[in-house]
Amino acid sequence: TQLLEQSPQFLSIQEGENLTVYCNSSSVFSSLQWYRQEPGEGPVLLVTVVTGGEVKKLKRLTFQFGDARKDSSLHITAAQPGDTGLYLCAGARNFNKFYFGSGTKLNVKP
């Protein structure tokens, strides 16, 4: 059983649409990170959130950490084909090792 559950597992949308990816757990995390991975490469860190209720924006991407620090969401506005990839959330307890979610595979069609 995954410590972090991501939904949806797959998402195929048209360019210009908005989308939200969710990362949920029953555990509390000291920090949570979001990564994007492209085929044949390692995951690349997008953002780290550490405070409950924290919201961070990275251009068209908005990340939110739940008030209780058990869940997080990633919202993409006006998705572009370049956003295509596997999105992974990862939570750390006591700032030590990270537990990764199962991932959301996003395909943005032109």
Binding site: Q2, S30, S31, Q33, G40, E41, G42, P43, V44, L45, T48, V50, L88, A92, N94, F95, N96, K97, F98, Y99, F100, G101, S102, G103
Partner: protein, 116 residues
Amino acid sequence: DARVTQTPRHKVTEMGQEVTMRCQPILGHNTVFWYRQTMMQGLELLAYFRNRAPLDDSGMPKDRFSAEMPDATLATLKIQPSEPRDSAVYFCASGYQAGDHSYEQYFGPGTRLTVT
């Protein structure tokens, strides 16, 4: 442009053979991770080191897997003997952690292992 490097990038071997994967972490990073990624299990942590000392290898099958850091510039993951179920992409990542603070992990490009 500092990067984590991994060798080899691809490895095909027969069941029962020894496999060694190498990782050069980013200079100055004090924490090194080994992960395995498969379609079924996703990204799993196998082991991690801080200041070259193993902190946790609970994700690693002890009977066949071993991980070491002979020096600060080299981490190795060895499988002996290899089995078809070990087929996966193995990632090394490094980061710098100080105290109770979050830190960033930088991943290498991975080693794609196929055991026939």
